[in-house]
Amino acid sequence: MASRFRFAALGSAIVMVVAACTGGGATPSPSVAAPSAPASVAASASASAATASGSPALAEVCTAPPKHEGQTVTFVSYGGAYQEAQRKGFLQPYSQLTGVQFTEEEGTDYAKIKSQVEAGQVTWDIVDVGNDFGLDANADLLEPLDYNLIAKDQILEGFAGTYRVADMTYGVAMAYNTDKTAGKVPAGWADFFDLQKFPGNRGFWKYATGGVLEFALMADGVDPKQLYPLDVDRALRKLDTIKDSIVWWDTGAQSQERIGSGEYALTMIWNGRGWSAKHTDNKPVEMVWKNQFLTADFLVIPKGSPNKDIAMEFIAWATCANNNANPSKYIPYGPTNKFATADPKNVADLAVSNVDESTAYFDDAYLVDNFDELDAKFQAWVGQ
């Protein structure tokens, strides 16, 4: 998610270089997620992992992955507290089990994957990417995953693809500042568009395919299951009704800070950022889960990775029922394996705990394949 804005390739740089390099910078904070499986199922997680798949290879990679003493692979993610949790939950235990050492880099960057693959000098072996990457559109850049090793049937529906498998889910939802709403609770996205009932600034991510169009459509009465293909004109007409009150955010940190400070009364937010506004910053912020998008971060292997096999084994291990929830001990982000259990203290704040019939799902392939058209319409509207 949210790798789009690299706020460090700073503006004063000579412009022509931009296509070749983008610096790291805004570290998007992916959000809290949880398994949808009932907690009872996970009581004997590793046992169900073995039986659910029925494959001895699978069971073995979950509990006793192959040893590779002295081998080093490179793991790249979004940095910060998020990568720290992956380090403690995934990388360190895996090193102890197998002897594999991890070199880490912070700052996932799709453009760097592309340039490494094109140059034939791939140094990244495992990359944590957002939901807009790893689809067929990027087939030239990625290794297909080995589903003889990875337990596809245990992963949440739609979160395991040819080139990517989700390692954690999060929600794109609404947050509101309780001071600004004077104690009133927005019932859903229709209220988000009601400036009479809830005066104050509105926050949206300034990114055409990040959810803004979909939220407008759902506020306008579109069924969350009937969003695609997007009726962009209808969405923009709806957004027009509150356009003057929208203050766009470019980075997750901005959304968190502005909802906490009351600059926003209501905002679209990645639920991890909403959680941090409330629990880390101690601000009067609450979430509205109705019509949230349940989405995920994914693991991919750049094409030509010299450590492809080890990377594959690691990804299989990290998505096993008995391992996939490990990072949730260190950060309120949950697993994607249906049979894994997140840390109990965070369950109520997890996106998956709040899934109901109003929950929406991004059609990632549609959004990527039609990005140019959607973005062109959005940009033409937003800058008017």
Binding site: F7, G11, A111
Partner: protein
Amino acid sequence: MLRSDRPAGGPIVNRWAALAVPAIVFLVIGFLVPLLVIASRSVTEFPKSADHSLLANYQRFFAGEANVRVLGNTFWIAGLSTVACLLIGYPYAYLMNLVRPRVAGLLLIAVLVPLWSSLLVRTFAWDVILRDTGIINRTLIAIGLIDGPLPLLRETHSVLLGMTQILLPFMVLPIYTVMRRIDPEYGKAAANLGAPPIRAFVRVFLPLSLPGVIAGCLLVFVLALGFYITPAILGSPKNTMLSEFIVLKATTGTLDWGLASAMAMVLLVLTLVVLFVASRFVRVRDVFGSIDQE
């Protein structure tokens, strides 16, 4: 070094020229080659579903309503920033030139300090100060001067404020450098010949300081063309600049480097056009040449 200094029978190429080799190598590898790669990508790399003709990326760029508007906006904002920097920077440099060296040093430090702090930090600081719930609006509301927040942020003026603060040193320094070399005797001579101070300034000092003005304006203008974070944070989507689109195309969705490269080339070519037009009115060589005449 004068040519006659060269020992007879010595190498045709001055030995000192060898010192320039690292810089030349760096420019070729670090600038010229990437530029050629970008130029070539802009006419050879296309999304699978798109037209593959030579200029397809350029056609896609100019077909986009938002692209053309943002391109125009980029030059407009860069131009305004240049004017704003000049209006503040010229009197500032003039003042630096008037006062005692010790005071001039302090003024110099004052203009340089912003260069030492992060652009992002300064930009976000403006955001916090100017926002609806920021200190200015809150204070004005608290003392009853206004009922609701003033639109201090998300307007062209807030973008200009942020960009001018960042770019000002690049205007002040070239102007000050040139002013310092203007012989004060010229002013006295003008006065002796009967020119009142204003005329002496307009007819003597101002023309002599012009190379610095032009160097500063070119520097600020070209740097401003590449901005996008400051307009994104302090402005509204109406103030979006082209670099933001280039990054968007280069790093998201389908990694459309062909279009991103075409955008970069359009910006580069238009910038060269501006420099060319400027060179019709001023001798660019004088501008840059003036720097090494000391």
